[in-house]
């Protein structure tokens, strides 16, 4: 942590960056902080409650942050995938950001969750994580902690759904989507959601019904998952942000599994590796096509 504070202070003093996007302790848990003065670098922390994916602040939609000038950003491995995604899709130039990678031992479900990480308290995204040391990093800080415990709740829910017959699965999702109120927190928190005008907001024509009934919501969440296919950084922030408790991480996780099985691709923090959606092979699978 001292390492991080010193580095941030130095970057700001030297004028290398105008703002360091990182984490600080807030009144109800860890929260993002935008440090512009070297003295404020003292606020920066890094611990198992640094749950948020700060890459969302590098998106051009956050114009007020971009206007501050060149930034440095504190990232975990999962966050680094999102930064790489922004670079890959021309939203950010590599040379316009200083990436401070943190060696990570996993995070809790919520930024306010004190205590050690256990299979019950650890975030779903940390299970089986292979990016505890982000490769996309100008500076790599911290000691590598032991691997986090594995949470099984998402795997179990996924397996449960896959065991259901089709009609039952439909009812399950219909129930879930009924609760969605289209607050769009999932969209706001996602770093890969940076469209100037989201397809939901297109009214001529209105492909996605804006009414928050199960049908309109299904249309939105289905489309959201399709648009994130091969791009999602699997940070599960969408699920954490959802006030209605929808298992949105499950949708993206299923999509990532499909992309992996069908196209042998996993999103990484290497921005030079292109997404499989937008590419093709002559021998792509097509057993479902008559």
């Amino acid at each position: 942590m001292r390492e991080l504070k010193n580095l941030a202070k130095r970057l700001l003093e030297e004028g290398t960056v105008k703002v360091v996007i990182g984490y600080e302790e807030g009144p109800v848990g860890v929260r993002p902080v935008f440090v512009t003065r070297p003295a404020d670098a003292e606020k920066l922390v890094f611990n198992s409650r640094c749950v948020q994916n700060l890459a969302a602040y590098l998106s051009r939609r956050r114009g007020h942050i971009a206007r501050l000038g060149k930034s440095a950003i504190v990232v975990k491995g999962c966050d680094a995938r999102a930064v790489a995604g922004l670079i890959r899709e021309s939203q950010l130039k590599r040379e316009d950001v200083v990436v401070i990678g943190m060696r990570c031992g996993g995070v809790a479900l919520r930024p306010s969750d004190e205590g050690p990480l256990t299979p019950e308290t650890v975030a779903d995204r940390c299970s089986g994580c292979e990016s505890r040391e982000p490769k996309l990093a100008d500076h790599l800080l911290g000691e590598l902690p032991p691997a986090p415990p594995k949470a099984t709740r998402m795997f179990e829910l996924m397996a449960q759904i896959e065991r259901m017959p089709v009609a039952e699965r439909f009812r399950f999702w219909a129930e879930q989507f009924e609760r969605c109120m289209r607050c769009n927190a999932c969209r706001e928190v996602c770093p890969m959601c940076f469209c100037e005008r989201c397809i939901q907001d297109k009214s001529q024509p209105q492909w996605i019904e804006t009414s928050p009934h199960a049908r309109g919501n299904l249309s939105w969440h289905f489309t959201h998952a399709m648009h994130l296919a091969g791009r999602c950084s699997s940070c599960d922030e969408c699920q954490r942000a959802c006030p209605a408790g929808l298992p949105l991480g499950l949708l993206n996780r299923k999509m990532a599994e499909i992309v992996r099985n069908r196209f042998e691709y996993q999103v990484s923090d290497d921005s030079t590796v292109p997404s499989p959606i937008g590419a093709f092979k002559q021998q792509d699978p097509q057993e479902f096509i008559k």
Partner: protein, 686 residues
């Protein structure tokens, strides 16, 4: 507010027999936005088109929907009609209620409902159409002809004589194609080489024809008016500039045992060879597979095994180290004239759709040959100097039996079509045989005699009446060796009895199929082909020399089995199309291209990745102080072909394809709910 005119065509009885056109028109009149809705017998006729023009003028129509045949038939017709009445042609579209409705259903009620719905989709679409203007792009006024047989030669000469440059690519070392292998041609019995070689020479010497022989098309990029073609000039291992065709190298070559492809395997040639004496260009080729020098090198020999040709060459033209070269040519139009090959009767087939025959002994009985092989025997410059001799023992056959329809017209062999030329050339063969072997007897086993061309029937009768050919209607089940002869087991259906005959030689009239590798070439050009490999024409009756890919035409036997007069006609027709295309300085393109909304575009460039034509560039949006605000996608109107993949890929739909915009497609989908029976659905209120 939309004022759409709907015109429901009876198409005589074609549509009216199954669809109640008056009812369709009546129901569509109820659709909001429809100002005029009528039915008529023949919309494409002059009075039909006049109805449209009249309605546009009298009712101030803002769009026209013609519910009739497929837009592939008449969209252009009706667009021209509305254009004539002062309406932008893109406000006119067709609903297909014939091919997609009246012709495929019997139930009148259901067909009428369906026709109404199909038309309603198009009405909703047209309400959202925009007045598109044609796009003009420059054209490269040079043509590429692929294939140097008679069709390719004719097309090249026609275009070159029309003052445009032609690039002619031929994969064999000489142009001429199969016609150069023939001895005499029906129905005149002219010597094939005599009429062909002057054309070949003219092609070679023409100042506007750039000939690339022993070459193949490697890749084709671009689009009509602007193709970039990469051609692989295979290495002859000879320096073409230095060679003067003296033939000394051929005399010197120690290997005289390679099978001669031109003589269909009946004769032998050297490793350095010219395919036939009248070859154009008269430059030899070294067959690296049989050449001792190259075989030695491949085995890693330390010393050069043989260089006799190099020693004999007075011009230093032997170039062992010359490799294939790739050159690039820019052309505006392409003609495919790759011709045919004969179906190989054996079990091994290049096209997996075809099956061979085991029962005819081809390949095991040496005196069972095919039509091209007989031509080589009959040919004065062939392996037997024009004498009909048996390949097995060189004796003159006294009895030749000809079998028609081998492979053709046989669903069991995967070939359903008739090869068109075999009845004629078999009659010709019987006559050539009789003229050369006066005591010989020709017998033909036939299913039908197809002699439909000019002078054809007279010709085939001559074979029977003057040259004594015996025609037996029936097929042959088996050929068997019987000592020195061949026993032929057949059936005479007119007499109703089996027939067993002895022959000294049997000639099989095999099916005429496209060249091997045609599907690969077609894919490079993105033209479609059928299950046999024949190139698909744009329309079987009305557009026989065009393909569905703009700028690419087709001529000759690569499109379907065809004789020489028809191949030549088709080649001239394709050349005329090309010259017509080239008669304008700029090409007018369909404006159905993609357009980026710069305000909405986020600059993620997914579209750029997926565009098959590389039509999407990056554009920098700047403010008045020249500060870069954002970089967005931009579509090059000249290159975009209008597939719409960019739009389906764009997450925010910031790029739209004119003619198939989101609004248009959405309106069509919405119209699914409207049944035309009092329920106007949720869409369609404009």
């Amino acid at each position: 507010m939309s004022r759409i005119g709907v015109f429901v065509c009876h198409c005589g009885e074609n549509i009216a027999r199954t669809v109640d056109c008056a009812a369709v028109a009546k129901r569509l009149a109820e659709l909001p936005g429809v100002a005029h809705s009528v039915d008529y017998k023949y919309m494409c006729s002059d009075p039909g088109q006049a109805l449209i023009k009249q309605a546009i003028a009298e009712k101030g129509l803002t769009g026209v929907v013609v519910a009739a045949c497929s837009p592939h038939m008449h969209e252009k017709t009706f667009r021209r009609a509305v254009s004539g009445a002062g309406m932008n042609p893109h406000f006119c579209e067709m609903a297909n209620i014939r091919e997609h409705c009246s012709w495929i259903h019997e139930d009148r009620v259901k067909a009428t409902d369906k026709a109404t719905q199909l038309a309603s989709f198009i009405v909703e679409k047209v309400k959202r159409n925009r007045p598109l203007q044609p796009i003009h792009i420059p054209i490269e006024r040079r043509a590429l002809v692929i294939g140097g047989g008679i069709a390719g030669i004719q097309a090249s000469l026609d275009i070159a004589d029309g003052n445009r440059e032609v690039v002619l690519v031929e994969k064999e070392p000489s142009i001429g194609g199969h016609m150069s292998q023939l001895s005499e041609t029906f129905p005149t019995l002219d010597c094939s080489q005599c009429i062909l070689t002057p054309r070949m020479v003219e092609t070679y010497q023409h100042e506007r024809i750039r000939l690339h022989t022993y070459s193949e098309v490697e890749s084709v990029e671009g689009y009509i008016g602007n193709f970039t073609v990469r051609i692989r000039k295979k290495s002859r291992s000879i320096d073409e500039e230095k060679c003067n065709g003296c033939g000394a190298c051929i005399q010197a070559c120690p290997n005289r045992k390679s099978p001669n492809e031109f003589d269909t395997g009946l004769g032998k040639r050297t490793s350095v060879y010219v395919p036939f004496p009248q070859a154009v260009p008269n430059i030899p080729v070294i067959d690296r597979a049989s050449c001792l020098f190259f075989r030695g090198r491949a085995k890693g020999a330390k010393k050069d095994v043989c260089k006799k040709c190099e020693a004999a060459c007075g011009k230093g033209a032997i170039a062992f180290d010359r490799e294939d070269r790739i050159i690039e040519e820019k052309v505006g139009a392409i003609i495919i004239a790759t011709g045919y090959q004969l179906y190989s009767i054996g079990k091994e087939q290049a096209n997996s759709a075809f099956k061979g025959y085991g029962e005819y002994g081809y390949g095991t009985i040496p005196d069972v040959i095919d039509g091209l092989q007989f031509e080589r025997l009959a040919s004065a410059s062939g392996p037997t100097a024009g004498k009909i001799l048996r390949p097995s023992d060189g004796k003159e056959p006294k009895r030749i039996i000809f079998l028609q329809c081998i492979g053709s017209r046989d669903p069991a062999k995967g070939i359903q079509f008739c090869s068109k030329i075999c009845c004629m050339y078999v009659a010709k063969h019987t006559m050539l045989y009789k003229h050369k072997v006066h005591g010989g007897q020709a017998t033909v086993f036939f299913m039908d005699i197809r002699a439909a061309g000019k002078g054809y029937d007279e010709f085939s009768r001559r074979a029977i009446e003057e040259d004594g050919a015996r025609y037996i209607r029936g097929r042959v089940s088996k050929l068997e060796r019987d000592g020195e002869a061949i026993k032929v087991y057949g059936y005479d259906t007119l007499n109703g009895a089996p027939v067993v005959m002895d022959a000294d030689m049997v000639v099989l009239a095999t099916a005429m199929v496209p060249q091997t590798g045609i599907s690969t070439l077609a894919q490079k050009l993105s033209v479609s082909y059928d299950r046999y490999g024949f190139i698909n024409e744009a329309h079987p009756k009305l557009r026989p020399v065009e393909t569905n890919t703009a700028g690419i035409f087709v001529a000759g036997a690569c499109q379907a089995p065809r004789d020489i007069p028809d191949s030549v006609s088709m080649a001239s027709a394709a050349a005329a199309k090309v010259l017509g295309l080239f008669s304008n300085e700029k090409l007018e393109r369909e404006p159905s291209v993609a357009v980026v909304n710069r305000e909405l575009c986020t600059g993620c460039f997914h579209c750029q990745r997926v565009c098959p034509y590389g039509a999407i560039d990056r554009f920098e949006v700047k403010d008045r102080k020249d500060t870069l605000l954002k970089t967005v996608a931009e579509v090059n109107k000249g290159i975009c072909q209008g597939c719409g993949t960019c739009q389906a890929t764009c997450p925010s739909k910031s790029v739209e394809l004119e003619g198939f915009t989101d609004e248009q497609v959405f309106a069509e989908i919405n119209a699914l709910e409207w049944t035309g029976q009092g329920n106007s659905g949720e869409g369609g209120r404009r």
